[in-house]
């Protein structure tokens, strides 16, 4: 007891009598509005999504989500007012075992702390990298979570009322894309689109199946679509663009057009990677991650990003991706305080070894947009000027196993 007292006294002595003192307990929070060049990068080994600022290259904060072995899909959605972030998550009571609980967690976008949790049916689809796993209705009221058990459905959460409204069975149709204030779009195994319309309470109003608009057997569309206004842009394994307009009462399917000409095909250029499309809405520039490879190489990382003008449907630019191997080794050496060796190594590796390529791209929507290119092997992030294509910066230590990029 006497020891305890002395301890207490000395503690105060150190903290007060030691007269110089910084505040203890300070925790930073984020500004109300996201920066123009912010992006989120999810990581399935670190079980998080991390917010980076492409202008400074710094990590601004992280949200840990999911558990070891589960939680492949870490796909944040952002409320239109930027106040909240919605994440569908799966937890077991004992890590990889025990009782399963699926939830939609609501995070405060400036403190990154959870503010609410809505339990949903334990049916969430889990896949890598997790494109189109969740969607938010255009008015930000209802969140749809794609379920696969392997029977398919969507669970609907009213994020404003913080409650599950329903689970809608969608036999043969998967994935989920926002398609209006009360409508979501899904893709079916026969090449059709399913539109899921909700009523004001977020219950099922009607399901409508379109005629098949692509051939899943001969030339399937990838799920890695991007949206520009009312138009969703899908691309097929063979590089054919299929557009779906969700502006009207009924879905309108645009005439398919090809990203590749005969010369490109002869040189066996193909689309590939985990997130191979990006679009800059204002300028109508479509960014496509491409590589040279054989048939069925739709997961192969890309060595170039080809830029298309959506008006003329012409390719207007080719942007070469840095070799992640060169970047990684260079960064390691630079971190070890060997800048000149770093420069040399980057140059040598880029020259002497094939470019492993990058897996995912994102373009910001401001008028001076950046192109974010993220590689998996090894893990690197490179920032390009999205208009000129030039490399602006590399971001060191982005994580271990990146899955998807998201713009807040």
């Amino acid at each position: 007891m006497r020891i305890r007292l002395l301890v207490l006294l000395l503690a105060l002595a150190a903290a007060r009598a030691g007269s110089a003192a910084e505040a203890v307990g300070t925790v930073l929070s984020l500004p109300a509005r996201p920066g123009a060049h912010w992006f989120w990068l999810s990581d399935i080994l670190l079980h998080r999504t991390a917010l980076f600022d492409a202008d400074s290259g710094s990590l601004l904060g992280t949200i840990t989500s999911g558990s070891p072995g589960v939680g492949f899909v870490i796909a944040p959605l952002f409320s239109p007012d930027h106040r909240e972030i919605y994440l569908a998550e799966t937890y077991y009571s004992r890590g990889v075992r025990g009782e399963r609980t699926d939830v939609v967690t609501v995070y405060d976008a400036s403190t990154l702390l959870p503010v609410a949790e809505v339990e949903i049916p334990p049916h969430r689809a889990e896949y890598f990298p997790g494109n189109a796993a969740n969607a938010l209705s255009d008015d930000g009221r209802f969140m749809a979570v794609f379920d696969l058990t392997p029977a398919t459905s969507v669970s609907i959460v009213d994020v404003q009322e913080r409650r599950l409204t329903t689970e809608i069975r969608t036999p043969g149709c998967s994935l989920v894309y926002a398609a209006g204030p009360r409508r979501f779009l899904m893709l079916c195994s026969n090449g059709a689109a399913l539109s899921v319309t909700l009523d004001e309470q977020g219950r099922e109003a009607r399901l409508e199946r379109s005629a098949p608009f692509f051939d899943p057997e001969q030339d399937p569309l990838t799920e890695k679509a991007v949206r520009r206004g009312d138009e969703w842009l899908f691309v097929s394994f063979a590089g054919v663009v299929h557009s779906v307009d969700v502006g009207g009462e009924v879905l309108r399917f645009g005439a398919p057009w090809s990203l590749l000409d005969d010369a490109d095909r002869r040189a066996s250029w193909r689309i590939g990677g985990g997130q191979h499309l990006a679009v800059h809405a204002a300028t109508g520039r479509l960014y496509v991650l491409v590589h040279q490879g054989g048939p069925d190489t739709h997961k192969e990382p890309g060595t170039e990003v080809w830029v298309y003008d959506l008006q003329s449907r012409r390719r207007v630019q080719r942007i070469a991706m840095l070799s992640p191997l060169a970047s990684f080794v260079g960064q390691q050496l630079a971190a070890a305080g060997r800048p000149r060796a770093a420069g040399f190594a980057e140059w040598l590796i880029a020259k002497a070894t094939p470019n492993p390529g990058v897996d995912r791209i994102l373009v910001t929507q401001d008028e001076h947009p950046v192109l974010v290119a993220s590689a998996s092997m090894p893990p690197t992030v490179t920032i390009h000027d999205a208009l000129t294509g030039e490399v602006v910066r590399e971001i060191a230590e982005p994580g271990l196993a990146a899955s998807l990029l998201f713009a807040p």
Partner: protein, 183 residues
């Protein structure tokens, strides 16, 4: 051996033959694939099969294969033509058995791989071994005939741990389900 086979087998063999006549082999395989996983949507069925299954004919002989195509710990192993994950043969299991501490998912995705020895096409069932975190050894991604998520039966992006105690995926095996062509 026809005699002691249940009526349903003979019935479905008939059905399959019918279909085979009407369709290209490639289409046939796709349908079989789709069918298999459709069936998997009734998990009880494969689970029961898993319990009762006993191999009647050995899988093709790998012993004469040279190098990687015959090595279950290699991504180039012939059975791995549509796998995406960590090879169980590097994780305490084998090409057709799960490591200790895991549970094999009865629900699978399907590939069709050609055996370099006999030149025949085999239907490969890629089953995930579930209940432990990622093995992280012998990562292998091959996508021959692989399709997007909405084409569920042919997609290897999905965590195929269904009907198992845990959804956690550890590694994947490649089991020969049968010969793709009827002989």
């Amino acid at each position: 051996m026809t005699a002691n086979r249940p009526w349903i087998d003979r019935l479905v063999e008939g059905a399959a033959r019918q279909l085979a006549r009407r369709t290209s082999r490639r289409g046939m395989l796709a349908r079989l694939g789709a069918a298999l996983v459709g069936a998997a949507a009734l998990p009880l069925l494969p689970v029961a099969r898993a319990a009762t299954e006993d191999p009647r004919m050995p899988p093709p002989d790998d012993s004469k294969l040279e190098g990687a195509v015959g090595d279950p710990t290699s991504c180039a192993y012939w059975r791995h033509c549509a796998i995406d994950g960590f090879l169980c043969a590097c994780c305490g299991g084998s090409q057709n058995a799960c490591p200790p501490g895991t549970e094999m998912s009865p629900v699978t995705w399907i590939g069709t791989c050609r055996h370099p020895g006999d030149g025949r096409d085999y239907i490969i069932s890629y089953n995930d071994c579930c209940g432990q975190s990622l093995c992280l050894r012998c990562r292998c991604t091959r996508t021959e005939g692989e399709k997007p998520v909405y084409f569920t039966s042919r997609n290897n992006d999905l965590l195929w741990c269904f009907g198992t105690k845990s959804r956690a995926v550890h590694c994947s095996v490649a089991i020969v389900l049968g010969v793709a062509t009827r002989s």
